[in-house]
Symmetry: C2
Subunit: 333 residues, 2 copies
C-alpha cells in the first residue's frame, strides 16, 4: 500500500523488505500481485497446510529463525511422507508488530530453508494480531499423476518403518519447560542442546520422498506422537500393528535417559514433534527401500509388523507385554 | 487422532463432524489423509491467501456463519479479480475452544458458500489459541495457461472500472463500532442492516471472472480501500489515473449519507472491505465488457481514466479540484 506521497505503507514495505527476496519463483511475481501461479507441469499438485502458534507449537523466546524454519519444515515433512517434491509455499503471518529485530532473523531462516529444500515463497498475507503470534503455511508439492502415498494401503505382513529417531523433540520441549529431565542432563550440555534443537528445528525427510513413493504401501509423518499417528495410519488402512518398543530408534541421549529411568518409553512413543516418516513397506521391498534410504542419507528402522484386525496398535516391552499408554498423542481439543 | 480405545480425539472428531461434509472433492480424501491432491487439468493454478483476525477483520459478536463466509469470500474475490475459476481451498482455524454453538453455524455458512461458489474444502489445520480467533484460507483457481489477469498492464487511455458499490462496508463497520453514522441512520433499519451486511458478508464478483479475463488489461480486488488499491494497480502498471469522484458508484444509503454530510467522500474511497473488482479496460473493449457484465448480473461503472505518469491517482470533486485523502487505505502496520 502507498501513502499520499506514493510511499509504501508499513505492510507493503515489510513484504518488499523481508519476503520479496524469498519469492524466487517466476510464478510469485515478486509478491507484487494478488495471487501467484503454480504450474502443474503434468504432475498432481499435493497441498498441505499446517500452522504453528506461539505458546503451543513454539515458545515466545525461541529464536525467530528457528520459528520460521519450523513453520516451513512441518509442512515439508508432510510433503516428504506423501512422496512429493516441494514446489513452493504461501505464508500467513499474524504478528503483534513489525519488529525488525524479530523479522530479520525470521526471514533469513525462512529464506535459507526455502533455498535448502527447493521450496520458494509464492505469496502470503501479513496481519496484525494482539494475541499470540501465528505462522500458517500452505505448501505445495508435485507427484506423478496418481502417485501420492496415502495413509491407507498398509497390508498385513508389511514392516512398520520409521526414519531417524523418536522422542527427542518431546524431551527437548520438556527441558525448555523446566521439566524433570533437565536435571538428569545437568552436566550434558551437548545432549540438552541436541534435544532442544530437535524440538525447535525439525529435520524433514524430503531426501527420502522418492523412495517412499517407490516402495511404501502407506505413509504419514509422525507429528503428534508415534503411537497415535500409527493408530491413524492403521485405521485408515483397516489394519493393526504390533510394535517391539525396543526397536524404536532413539538418539544416544534419549537412550541414556530411558536407561536411567529419567524418561519412560510411553513418553517417547506418545510425544509429539518428531517429524519423522512412518511407513508400511512390504517384506520384499524392504531391502530396496533400505538401500535407497542409505543413498539418501536417512536412517530407517523396522520397528514392527502390520497385522490384520481393527485393534489399536500394540507396543510390546522387553517381556512381550503390552505397554500401557495413558494417551497416544497430542490433541488440541 | 484416537484415544486408547481407538476413539477419535476432540480434534479429529471436530474435523469429521463439521468439515468432512464440505470436502466434496475427491482430491480431499474426506480429510482423512495428510494432504490433498489438486488436479491442474492443463490450466495454471492461481493461488491466493488471506486471513481474517477477530477484532481486526471481524468482530467477536459477528454471527459465526458470516465470519466463515467472509473468510472464504475475501479469497474468492481475489480469484475473481485475477480472472480465475474457483477450484478449492484449504482452511486454518485457530480457535479458543471447540464450541458447538460457534462451530455449527460456522461450518454451515462455510459449506453453503463452498457449494454456491463451486469451491470445495480440500484440507486444513485446526489449532488452539488463547488469543483472538483467526481464520486463514488459501484458495485455488484455474485459468488457461498464461491468462491470469495482473495488476500490471493498465495503459494510458484505459477506462478505470469498478463493480458494485464502494464504501458500504466501511460505513457498516463504523455503525457496528457505534460511530457517528449510526445516529444518522437511526430510523432506517434496512439501510443500517444493508451496510452492516456488506461489512460482514462480501459479495465477490466471481460471475465476472471470465469477462475480466477476456477484456481487462489489469485488475485487482478492492479490499483495503479504492484509492489505495488504485494506487497499487497504477504503480504496478507504471501509470497514473484521474477519477471523477461523482462517478464512484454508491448504494442508495451511502449516497443519502454523503448528501447529508454524515460521511465524506474521503472515507468512502479510502475505507476497506469493499471486495469489488477494480480494472482497466481499453475504450474499444468497454462495450463488450459491459455487456458481459450485464449478462453476469454484475453492475460495472466507469469512474475515470488511466493516464501516463508516475503520480498517485487523483480523485476530483464536482468542481474538478483534487480531493485531499488523509490516507489512501488500511494498513496493518
Amino acid at each position: 500500500m502507498t501513502d499520499r506521497q506514493g510511499n509504501p505503507s508499513g505492510e507493503d514495505s515489510l513484504i518488499a523488505r523481508y519476503f520479496k527476496p524469498l519469492a524466487t519463483d517466476p510464478g510469485a511475481f515478486d509478491l507484487t500481485d494478488d495471487a501467484a501461479i503454480l504450474k502443474a507441469l503434468g504432475d498432481d499438485i499435493v497441498v498441505t497446510t499446517d500452522a504453528i502458534v506461539e505458546g503451543v507449537h513454539f515458545l515466545s523466546d525461541d529464536p525467530p529463525d528457528t520459528i520460521a524454519r519450523k513453520a516451513l519444515r512441518v509442512n515439508l515433512s508432510d510433503l516428504a511422507a506423501k512422496g512429493a517434491a516441494p514446489a513452493g509455499f504461501v505464508l500467513t503471518l499474524a504478528l503483534r508488530s513489525a519488529d525488525d529485530v524479530w523479522l530479520t532473523p525470521f526471514a533469513r531462516g525462512l529464506g535459507e530453508d526455502a533455498g535448502l529444500f527447493g521450496c520458494p515463497l509464492l505469496g502470503g498475507d501479513t496481519v496484525s494480531t494482539p494475541g499470540p503470534q501465528m505462522i500458517s503455511v500452505t505448501a505445495f508439492g508435485r507427484v506423478p499423476p496418481g502417485k501420492m502415498v496415502h495413509r491407507s494401503g498398509a497390508k498385513p505382513g508389511d514392516r512398520v518403518v520409521v526414519t531417524g529417531t523418536i522422542g527427542d523433540a518431546a524431551i527437548g520441549l520438556d527441558i525448555l519447560k523446566g521439566g524433570a529431565v533437565a536435571a538428569a542432563l545437568a552436566g550434558d550440555v551437548a545432549g540438552r542442546e541436541g534435544l532442544i534443537g530437535r524440538y525447535r528445528v525439525p529435520q524433514p525427510r524430503n531426501a527420502l520422498a522418492s523412495a517412499v513413493r517407490d516402495h511404501a504401501h502407506a505413509a504419514m509423518d509422525v507429528s503428534d506422537g508415534l503411537a497415535g499417528d500409527l493408530a491413524k495410519l492403521c485405521a485408515a488402512s483397516g489394519v493393526s500393528a504390533v510394535i517391539d518398543a525396543r526397536s524404536v530408534p532413539l538418539s544416544a541421549t534419549a537412550a541414556t535417559l530411558l536407561a536411567r529411568g529419567a524418561v519412560g518409553i510411553e513418553a517417547i512413543v506418545s510425544g509429539g514433534d518428531d517429524y519423522e516418516i512412518l511407513c508400511a513397506i512390504s517384506e520384499n521391498r524392504f531391502e530396496a527401500f533400505a538401500q535407497a534410504a542409505e543413498l539418501a542419507g536417512v536412517a530407517v528402522t523396522s520397528i514392527g509388523t502390520v497385522i490384520a484386525g481393527p485393534s489399536v496398535p500394540r507396543f510390546l516391552d522387553n517381556a512381550g507385554s503390552d505397554i500401557v499408554l495413558p494417551r497416544l498423542s497430542y490433541s488440541h481439543f
